[in-house]
């Protein structure tokens, strides 16, 4: 069993729910990731349960902070903090040099400028429409009849990406269908999709001001084509943590640890 103060962070996102347990030194003792599904509250409970089992503690042994879209649903949390602050803190914990963070989740993409103390200084979130989010890629993968895991590698095969110009997911979908009908190669279409998405994120980045070094988190950070195009658009190298989906939960855990209560 762990000793000293323990922190739990639970990040209830639109697609996945994540939980992280850390000890007083900030080392990760346990983590868990699962699909949120329809019952976000249950997913949060289940995630906490899993990490507690792994570390052989009970939820009451630790201080919990909830974050993410469903942060209000984390029953045991003594406090709720938005995912933007948590991502900043989490990334800062892993790599204190990072000054700009691009986090692309299922229905949100965010660009956060991180201050020297690891707190957000400025941020931008995509507007209501899903262009530039994980959902956009999901829709496009379905149209191209490939899995999400296959989409990025497919796009990297292209030398001449198609022009996919529509900003709106629904329009882009019919544009992609049009491209397929016109006989364009699937890898060129896939590359066009990633480039279009990267340009949307680049605009958000320019709005908060592009500062180096840049980190990328969220599920889409594992997509190699997305990384390729965003790094070209911003003319910059990108740092990606080992498990890029966990930084929000990690940040929440770090904040829980720091809380005087």
């Amino acid at each position: 069993m762990a000793s000293g103060k323990l922190g739990i962070g639970v990040d209830v996102g639109s697609t996945t729910t994540k939980a992280v347990l850390i000890d007083h030194t900030g080392s990760i003792l346990a983590s868990h990731l699962m699909n949120t599904g329809a019952a976000a509250e249950a997913a949060a409970l289940k995630c906490i349960d899993e990490i507690c089992k792994m570390a052989k503690i009970t939820p009451n042994d630790a201080t919990t902070i909830g974050t993410g879209y469903g942060r209000a649903l984390v029953e045991s949390a003594f406090k709720r903090v938005t995912e933007i602050t948590c991502h900043s803190v989490g990334v800062h914990h892993l790599n204190p040099d990072i000054r700009l963070l691009i986090d692309v989740g299922g229905q949100d993409s965010k660009v956060i400028r991180i201050g020297p103390k690891g707190r957000p200084e400025d941020f931008e979130i995509n507007d209501k429409c899903s262009a530039g989010t994980g959902r956009f890629l999901e829709v496009m993968a379905r149209v191209l009849e490939v899995t999400m895991d296959e989409l990025g590698p497919l796009a990297l095969k292209s030398d001449s990406p198609c022009d996919i110009s529509s900003t709106c997911t629904v329009f882009a979908e019919s544009e992609v269908i049009g491209r397929i009908g016109a006989g364009d190669a699937p890898h060129d279409i896939a590359a066009g999709i990633h480039r279009s998405m990267a340009s949307k994120i680049a605009t958000l980045s320019k709005r908060v001001g592009v500062v180096q070094p840049i980190g990328v988190t969220g599920g889409v950070a594992q997509n190699p084509a997305f990384k390729h195009y965003i790094s070209r658009q911003l003319d910059s190298e990108l740092w990606v943590p080992d498990i890029p989906q966990l930084t929000g939960a990690l940040g929440a855990a770090v904040l829980a640890l720091k809380d005087p209560s």
């Binding site: 529509s166 329009f171 019919s174 544009e175 605009t203 320019k206 709005r207």
Partner: protein, 401 residues
């Protein structure tokens, strides 16, 4: 149809390049001399021109950005600094080109010393020019011509008339230029002459087949927007009218095989202008009239030019209500013997586009001809869904077979 193209190129359009080159040259020259104004398309340009102020048109520049198919990129520069992608794409294009001239067509417009906005075409011009002023530090003058609900009332004329006095004062204090009545009358005469010739060419399109198609008019209207009050502008419209007249005399149509005659409503998609209209031409569809090029109709009268400016420019097409728009469409359809109409719902332009859904019903009810609405934008090709537009246009054309 074998080798022949569906669309016949206009000989006089070859002169356009020279005119636009000269126009840009004049603009750069004026800018270097510290007397260049950026003006909105509906501005009473006779006054600055008579005061020897150079003028260039950001709206026309927006069309150039669109035609060069770089709308999304140049508009994107403006979005990068916080201008919403929901805003007018002419505005975004010009703001974008100020931010990154080296990456924009023609390296942007020459630097202005004054910004002249007249809200007779829309309310956004004020906001747009304010934004441009922040970036260029050129002062803005707003000529306020409140939209007309009913007929223009005496207090409205009076108010706009005072605005014109303020304009003259603004130009003389900002740019140090002066105005004489002789110069104004001379400029107004040249301006009216060009407009009258232009209208004759437009009216000639009542002929079957029509001597000018939509794209012809959209391109040849450039000088009447940008070079009103100049002799070379008058000369151009003489040449154009001669060609139009001879086409009519010889029964030569703008398109080879005119089967269907349609009315076009609103600004065109500049990035698709040839592709769209020539594609229609291949299917035998001609556009003998449109509401856009018919908007430049008022000629300033020389006997009382100041009051005439106040009335003519307040009564522009877009400064009047929906009733006036429906009337115009109805008359164009009847006078030009048109079979139907296509309304382009332009997301950038609320003043032109909001109301199209009811106007469509009214016009069909009054004329008995069908119409369809297609959606998109004039510069921002990201909003143009070709597949959806194709379906709507096809459905309309199927009604004529």
């Amino acid at each position: 149809m074998t080798e022949e193209k569906a669309y016949r190129r206009l000989e006089s359009s070859k002169e356009l390049q020279q005119i636009s080159f000269q126009h840009m040259l004049e603009g750069h020259h004026a800018s270097e001399e510290g007397r260049l104004a950026w003006v909105t398309s509906g501005f009473p340009v006779e006054i600055p021109v008579a005061m020897d102020v150079g003028v260039v048109y950001p709206e026309q520049y927006g069309a150039v950005v669109g035609a060069n198919k770089v709308g999304p990129m140049v508009c994107g520069f403006a979005e990068d600094i916080g201008y919403s992608s929901e805003l007018c794409s002419y505005a975004r294009a010009s703001i974008g080109s100020i931010l990154k001239p080296s990456e924009s067509p023609l390296e942007g417009l020459p630097k202005p010393q004054a910004l002249l906005a007249c809200n007779n075409i829309c309310g956004s011009v004020l906001k747009w020019y304010d934004a441009v002023s922040e970036l260029t530090e050129a002062p803005v003058f707003l000529l306020d011509t409140p939209a007309l609900d009913v007929e223009q009332q005496p207090h409205h004329i009076e108010y706009v008339r005072h605005g014109i006095d303020n304009l003259i004062e603004f130009l003389s204090t900002t740019l140090g230029s002066t105005l004489t009545d002789e110069r104004l009358i001379e400029t107004a005469k040249l301006s009216s002459e060009a407009i009258t010739l232009w209208q004759k060419s437009l009216k000639a399109c009542k002929a079957k087949p029509t001597p000018l198609n939509c794209a012809d008019r959209f391109l040849t209207m450039a000088p009447v927007v940008s070079s009103r009050g100049k002799q070379y502008c008058v000369d151009f419209y003489k040449t154009l009218y001669e060609e139009v007249e001879s086409r009519v005399k010889e029964g030569i149509g703008a398109i080879r095989d005119e089967k269907v005659r349609l009315l076009w409503d609103n600004i065109p998609p500049w990035f698709q202008i040839f592709r769209f209209f020539n594609g229609m031409a291949q299917r035998g569809v001609a556009f003998p009239a449109d509401t856009y090029t018919h908007a430049w109709s008022g000629a300033v009268e020389a006997d009382d030019p100041y009051t005439s400016v106040a009335t003519v420019y307040s009564n522009s097409y877009l400064n009047k209500g929906l009733e006036a728009k429906a009337d115009k469409m109805e008359h164009l359809i009847k006078d030009y013997d048109l079979d139907g109409f296509i309304m382009f719902s332009v997301r950038s332009c609320k003043r032109y586009s909001l109301g199209q859904m009811v106007t469509r019903e009214i016009v069909t009810e009054r004329t008995g001809v069908p119409g369809t609405i297609i959606e998109g934008d004039m510069v921002d090709s990201r909003l143009f869904n070709e597949a959806q537009i194709g379906t709507r246009v096809d459905a309309l054309l199927e009604m004529f077979v």
